[in-house]
């Protein structure tokens, strides 16, 4: 005597949430974005230089310098983890890239004959295959990032160490290794492919800094992966309820290792781009950048408790930090105020979210 199953389900008691009470508009990212737009308007009136093309390019370039790493850290934060080693990772990848580039571009060193030869004049160094040196050295830089990410992921997911402690240790280890391999000296991207390197890291295409283009491409890819693949779904599930994720058969270890690897790769790529802009990879490069990166992620709505965050938030957080920095300079405010203000904004952004969820 099965009861009929055909009768459609009704929602007499369960109302539908209003559009402004759900999704993007109710998220921290949403109202930080509104605050950012307001800030743009204020800046427009405060300084005639703010909306000039040169300044906009400058802002776009500056925020893309931490934004790619912020995407990676946001991914880790969504799983309720943290990665403090991104600053060191940026430096180490940049350093390895420029050291490898210099090494294989120097005729006479073992292995270099595969990549370069001397021109007829006996002085000019010519690449055997244009671009190959660049490819190999960038892959070397990303390769070390991959390994650091794997070690982070292994310690956290397999050995069960706390993400904070593991990556705090890794911050120090990677920075130390950077000093060891460089002997404390900076390294410079050199050789016949150096021009390509600079073009690909600090060039301008269609009026936009290339780093900004990379950022947009990676952010779109991240949005698609997070919301339209099972990997993304599992990342959110892991941050929401790790035990539930494990019980429903999600391979928690694998997802965790993957997010730390992606985060390290993003940081490595970011470091390589920064070194192209600086023209060198000094051993103290990107020191304490992890704090800026985490601050940007948190302002943009990534919740350190896990389960919330996204690429748009990461970018909004980075832009907000940069516009404030830029705005304070244009408004001729003492630049020492900048750090204080950034701190206030971190707390304010989280506070607003707290108040909103209390009211709801």
């Amino acid at each position: 005597m099965a009861t009929p199953m055909e009768s459609p389900i009704t929602f007499t008691n369960i109302g539908k949430a209003k559009w402004w009470q759900s999704g993007f508009f109710a998220s921290q990212t949403g109202y930080v974005l509104i605050a950012l737009v307001a800030l743009f308007v204020v800046m427009n009136f405060a300084s005639p230089y703010f909306f000039t093309e040169g300044n906009m390019q400058n802002v776009a370039k500056n925020f893309s310098f931490i934004a790619i790493a912020t995407l990676g850290v946001t991914l880790v934060i969504i799983t309720a983890g943290i990665d403090l080693s991104v600053g060191s990772m940026m430096c180490f990848s940049a350093m390895i890239t420029s050291m490898v580039m210099t090494y294989i571009s120097t005729p006479g060193t073992p292995g270099a004959e595969w990549f370069v030869h001397l021109a007829a004049d006996g002085k000019t160094v010519v690449a055997n295959v244009p671009g190959l040196i660049l490819l190999v050295s960038v892959l070397a830089g990303l390769g070390v990032a991959l390994m650091v990410g794997l070690v982070n992921g292994f310690c956290i997911a397999v050995l069960g160490l706390s993400p904070f402690v593991t990556t705090l240790g890794m911050l120090s280890i990677v920075r130390g290794l950077g000093y060891v391999v460089s002997n404390g000296r900076g390294s410079f991207p050199g050789g016949p492919d150096a021009d390509y390197f600079y073009a690909l890291t600090s060039g301008v295409v269609l009026g936009m800094p290339v780093s900004f283009i990379y950022l947009v491409v990676l952010a779109v890819a991240m949005a698609v992966v997070l919301h339209h693949t099972s990997f993304g779904r599992h990342v959110f599930a892991l941050g929401g309820n790790e035990k539930a994720a494990a019980l429903t058969g999600i391979s928690v270890v694998r997802v965790k290792v993957e997010v730390y690897v992606i985060c390290a790769l993003a940081a490595g790529l970011q470091g390589i781009i920064i070194s192209g802009w600086l023209g060198s990879a000094p051993a103290n490069m990107a020191t304490s950048y992890e704090l800026n990166v985490i601050a940007a992620a948190v302002i943009g709505g990534a919740n350190l408790a896990g389960g919330v965050g996204g690429p748009l938030g990461a970018i909004v957080g980075c832009v907000l930090l940069e516009v404030i920095r830029n705005g304070l300079v244009l408004a001729q405010v003492n630049s020492y105020w900048q750090q204080t203000l950034v701190g206030v904004i971190i707390i304010a952004a989280v506070l607003v979210d707290r108040i909103r969820s209390r009211m709801a």
């Binding site: 009861t3 389900i9 929602f11 369960i14 779904r233 539930a244 019980l247 058969g249 999600i250």
Partner: protein, 254 residues
């Protein structure tokens, strides 16, 4: 009410199941049979061995002794996924839901429906929402697939957790204290969900402390005490008073 396989073979059969944790004997010589479409209440005081038994059936632990037969075949579950693969679903006491995801996402967690697009596989949101809505309809729960679980009532959350067990054609659903932390009206909903499962020929094992719930939905009640099964009676042949005295040990066995 006749169930489709009424007189058939039991869906789950336990023979002499025992479990030791070091020097502690948590379970000893438990025999049990559950028929398809049967609702069995598993009762006992804290530490009586209910949870251990459930965890053994669900594949969290291997038994130290005895044999589990599922659908007539001997089975060994090394992990919970193995138990799920043969058709055993568990609704955990804490429901194992990710609060930050929608109802549909939770139902399909770990078993997402995908659409191939070249070398990539993307989530098929539409199909998952439609199937989830269908399941909520079957369970008579007013739950929207796109709502976030954190905004839901206890009864709705329970429905999401139960809907998950209906994805694969589970043959046995075990529910651990599904009515412990919800309101009276929601208890009614959950009990009717159990009826729904029974109608569809699913065997249900209900682990509960709440005597009225067990007597409202179960066909049979199994009482555990100190790691052993001390009673296994049709619900019509017993009374809440008798079950209480069996649980406390005032009455040795029945």
């Amino acid at each position: 009410m006749a169930t489709p396989h009424a007189a058939g073979q039991p869906v789950l059969e336990l023979k002499g199941i025992g479990k030791e944790f070091g020097a502690i004997r948590a379970l000893h010589g438990v025999d049990m049979r559950i028929l398809p479409g049967e609702v069995v209440g598993l009762m006992g005081d804290n530490g009586a061995g209910k949870s251990t038994l459930v965890k053994i059936i669900a594949g969290n632990f291997l038994p130290s002794h005895g044999e589990i037969r599922f659908d007539g075949k001997a089975v060994h579950f090394a992990r919970p996924i193995d138990a799920r693969a043969v058709g055993i679903e568990v609704v955990y006491q804490d429901l194992a839901l990710a609060d930050n995801l929608t109802a549909a996402a939770n139902v399909f967690l770990g078993r997402e429906l995908k659409r191939k697009l070249g070398p990539f596989a993307f989530l098929d949101h539409k199909a998952m929402a439609a199937r989830a809505l269908e399941l909520f309809g079957e369970l008579r729960s007013e739950t929207r697939p796109h709502d976030l679980v954190k905004q839901m009532s206890g009864g709705q959350r329970q429905a999401v957790a139960i809907a998950r067990t209906r994805l694969s054609n589970a043959k046995l659903v075990m529910m651990d204290e599904p009515t412990a932390a919800i309101s009276v009206r929601q208890v009614e909903q959950v009990l009717s969900l159990i009826h729904r499962l029974k109608e569809q020929g699913v065997a249900v094992m209900l682990i509960s402390h709440r005597m009225p719930d067990v007597f409202a939905v179960c066909d049979r009640v199994v009482v555990m005490r100190r790691g052993e099964k001390c009673a296994d009676k049709a619900i019509d042949d017993t009374s809440p008073e008798e079950v209480t005295s069996l649980i406390t040990g005032a009455k040795e066995a029945a």
